[in-house]
């Protein structure tokens, strides 16, 4: 318990605004893979009797009456939950600036963002509060903040970890993911979290391997596809140099590195396809937030007005604006050219990536163009390839459901940046192995931001 109390004290003194709710640690007598290990959860993971807000005002007073399946699994393996972490409101964002408790600061540089939407969980691991934190990943919401925070971020195969009890954002893209400070821990955590759950019909029956025991950094003969469209859209030389250094080291280890290009017009749709599918599904998923059965209820003349007032005051401006896009995309007269069009292109993208991964063991690219942006950064051109492709390529993991992870790659201005790999469905074993080879190549492992 000493380790847990220590972590709890650190969490209390968190300087990144990462923790939304501290949870008084309770001794867990279960012996298992997480015995004595303090855990922090993103605040969209339901915890029985513990406030769960998803960083939205409308859930400010919400205390779930049940544990999410992942919480049950963590407890069963001896883990102790010590806090709930900040996130972009309802996981709809990539900056963690849109939490109603305020932005999460990057532990490497407080002037920078942590990334989102699982920014609180990422900051908690990077600043050394805990070694394990749970997040969720709908676009790149675990892998992007992992890159900005210098840690490992894993989004396993869709259906590998039960989504039961995780506040939904976009059900066909939502994944439970998590953060660790090294690949070994990452492989162990999947053993804890993965497995069939009859409460989630999309959960897989495939057996869960002992990933941590199978771990092996030998990449000799492994075929690695460099995601050329991403490289071509990058303009940060430091990022490119770090990436090329890494590729050279992997080559030295015997990996076969080849460039792969997809149709660039298709790649330019990555962001809009994501944006449309995510917002459309979100409007429907979040229709339960009406203040009638749980959550903050505002007054009104009649039921309709109660709901309208609760939702107007309960959701931040950004959320309501994105809901309008979702409403637009699902509208009968627009659905064909917006929502269904996006779903059709999703299929085309998935087919391309699937073909690629039939030939290669993984697809690799820098997680983003730059290190974490400043809190008040310059706005990026949302029609540029840098934005549409380089900053958003990791949504491919959500479209395909394929396992994808981000591992630290290097530094710029004292801030970390990561590299992302994506593998075949349910091929997490291979993903961890390549991840370990990367970790050995860079030597970047168990990083902790020097918090002053």
């Amino acid at each position: 318990m000493e380790k847990i109390y220590k972590a709890f004290e650190k969490a209390k003194n968190d300087k990144c605004n990462a923790i939304v709710t501290l949870v008084e640690p309770k001794e867990n007598l279960n012996k298992g893979k997480l015995s004595g290990e303090p855990i922090i959860l993103k605040d969209n993971i339901s915890t029985k009797g513990i406030r769960t807000t998803a960083s939205s005002k409308i859930l400010d007073n919400y205390y779930p009456i049940f544990d999410a399946t992942v919480v049950e699994k963590i407890k069963a393996e001896g883990g102790v939950i010590i806090g709930k972490a900040s996130m972009d409101e309802l996981a709809m964002g990539g900056t963690n600036l849109a939490a109603y408790t305020g932005p999460v600061l990057n532990p490497w540089d407080y002037k920078r963002m942590s990334g989102g939407s699982s920014g609180g969980s990422a900051a908690a691991v990077a600043s050394g509060i805990v070694s394990f934190a749970i997040g969720s990943d709908t676009g790149d919401s675990v892998r992007k903040p992992a890159s900005f925070c210098g840690i490992v971020g894993v989004k396993p195969t869709y259906g590998r970890i039960s989504r039961y009890g995780v506040v939904a954002y976009a059900s066909s893209l939502d994944h439970v993911g998590y953060f660790t400070r090294n690949v070994k821990d990452a492989s162990l955590m999947l053993e804890v979290l993965a497995g069939r759950d009859d409460k989630d019909m999309t959960s897989s029956f495939k057996e869960v391997k002992e990933y941590s025991k199978l771990l092996n950094s030998d990449v000799k003969g492994k075929k690695i596809a460099v995601f050329k469209n991403v490289i071509d859209s990058l303009d940060n030389e430091n990022t490119l140099n770090l990436f090329n250094d890494l590729l050279n080291k992997l080559k030295e280890k015997g990996a076969i590195i080849e460039e792969v290009s997809f149709d660039n017009d298709l790649m330019r749709t990555l962001f809009p396809v994501y944006f449309i599918i995510a917002n459309c599904e979100a409007t429907s998923n979040h229709s339960n937030l009406d203040g009638l059965r749980f959550g903050v209820s505002e007054d009104g003349d009649d039921t309709r007005e109660v709901v309208i007032n609760s939702r107007t005051k309960g959701f931040g401006s950004l959320i309501r604006k994105r809901f309008v896009i979702g409403s637009f995309g699902l509208h009968e007269e627009n659905q064909e050219k917006v929502f269904k069009k996006a779903q059709r292109i999703r299929r085309l993208i998935v087919e391309e990536v699937k073909k690629c991964l039939e030939e290669y063991d993984c697809l690799i690219a820098p997680a983003s163009n730059d290190i974490a942006p400043l809190l008040e950064g310059n706005k990026i051109d949302e029609l540029s390839d840098k934005y549409l492709i380089a900053e958003n390529h990791m949504v491919i993991g959500n479209f395909t459901g394929y396992p994808s992870m981000t591992v630290p790659m290097g530094f710029e201005k004292g801030c970390p940046i990561g590299v992302n790999i994506t593998c075949k469905a349910f091929d997490e074993e291979n993903m961890f192995n390549i991840g370990l080879a990367i970790e050995e190549s860079t030597g970047l492992k168990d990083l902790v931001a020097k918090v002053d």
């Binding site: 999309t202 059965r293 003349d301 309008v324």
Partner: protein, 95 residues
């Protein structure tokens, strides 16, 4: 250009209001969005079916008709702002 009235209607269908500034912001953001929509139009999706799930493998699983989980009335109402005689209450305020 997307009409202000249409934006408000879209919001009302989802049961919330927007401020005038928010409506103007959406109009502006819609300009970018509509250009992104043009990117979609460039892609030929003839004969391509929409993909609603990442994996389309069929399942055989159906839940057996056995009571697995029921909560108490107290737990059901625990998070409600208003309740009365075991019911959720929507309280109307007469101005």
């Amino acid at each position: 250009m997307i009409e202000k009235e249409y934006i408000k209607e879209l919001a009302h269908e989802l049961m919330f209001d927007l401020s005038e500034e928010e409506v103007v912001e959406i109009q502006k953001e819609y300009e970018t969005f509509s250009k992104q929509l043009e990117l979609l139009e460039k892609i030929d999706t003839k004969d391509v079916k929409p993909m609603p799930y990442p994996f389309e493998n069929e399942t055989n699983y159906l839940r057996e008709d056995v009571v697995t989980h029921v909560i108490t009335q107290e737990d059901a109402l625990r998070n409600a702002s208003y309740s009365k005689e075991g019911h959720f209450v929507v309280h109307k305020v007469v101005k």
